[in-house]
Assembly symmetry: C2
Homo-oligomer: 202 residues x 2
């Protein structure tokens, strides 16, 4: 009951690295077991399928991020700081730049999608709670908070997590965020800091 879990984690670790560096489709089970130094049967003793393993790898990533976000939410910071903190927990740190890059690559659509949907499910409730707090403080003014938060996350993912984007995209997104949440114009420019890095056309 101990040895098994350790092996499982070891395999997840190896897969995490390989999936991100080469893409999920381009990583074979044979490669994983070779790096781990185990036989095919052992691999399938721990995972039902390659895809199920991908789910596990992603679940682990998301859980770490959600953990950090929950910490921020429970803190005593002012609402604005909480928003920044929660978003920051979800955005890849600077030492994880490769992740950002890897997920944009065309061979990783499947992984990218699974991450997107799992992340959405985990983060929407947390961010919604922060926004709720913001409404009580008079920072925001809107109904249907979870739906609106979900929309903004879908938008940011669709706009910035793949391909190029222009300055105008960022500006309009900030405008959209203010209007959707009923924030005063010009108060949500801070979002921009989380985006600048990817696209740069024009």
């Amino acid at each position: 009951m101990k040895k098994g879990e350790k092996r499982r984690q070891e395999l997840l670790q190896i897969a995490y690295r390989l999936f991100l560096s080469q893409g999920y489709e381009n990583t074979s089970v044979d490669q994983i077991i070779e790096e781990a130094g185990i036989a095919k049967g052992t691999y399938y003793y721990y995972f039902q399928s390659k895809e199920q393993m991908l789910e596990a790898v992603i679940g682990r990533m998301i859980e770490e991020e959600a953990e950090a976000a929950r910490g921020v939410l429970a803190s005593e910071l002012p609402v604005a700081q909480k928003l920044v903190g929660i978003i920051a927990s979800v955005r890849p740190n600077q030492d994880e730049q490769p992740i950002e890059e890897a997920l944009k690559r065309p061979e990783n659509v499947l992984m990218h999608n699974k991450i997107r949907s799992q992340l959405l499910e985990a983060i929407v409730p947390l961010l919604s709670e922060a926004v709720e707090e913001g409404v009580r403080c008079g920072l925001f003014a809107c109904n249907h908070i979870p739906e609106r938060v979900r929309m903004l996350l879908i938008l940011s993912s669709g706009l910035f997590d793949e391909g190029e984007f222009s300055r105008a995209d960022v500006d309009v997104f900030i405008d959209a965020a203010e209007k959707l949440l009923g924030a005063a114009p010009g108060t949500m420019g801070f979002i921009g800091q989380f985006i600048r890095q990817g696209g740069a056309e024009k």
Copy 2:
């Protein structure tokens, strides 16, 4: 120069049907050539790879829709009608309900994604032109039109083209559309008619 193109179209037709009914991943080249009654080599005489064929299948779908949309745009209809018409050309007709369903299935992520990006590229310019016209008529008031149109399309796809969605999602989306384009509140409810069909939770 004639026979070849006919065969090519025949293969695209078969693939179109199979991809939608079983999913792209679950359809093998062997199955396609068996239905067509040709040999492997012939298939690869017409398509470089299975994925390139998928691109061609999708390109064909999109081109038809874009064609219809261009017709609407060039017509003499009032702006509001043009918007409705362009959106309608893109939405699957009633005899294509299966398509809508098929694309939601988990095994079709790749296809779904390719369609989404190709459709975006084709439709954004057309819809933008219609919105531009709307601005001139005083229906809308906004800058950065293509960016805003793109956002709305990304949003609608992310919200409604997969999984469930609630009544609140639709309402908030309409609200977002009005605010993003600077339309008067309550004037864009007509969008709702294009959505009702999929999700129904609560």
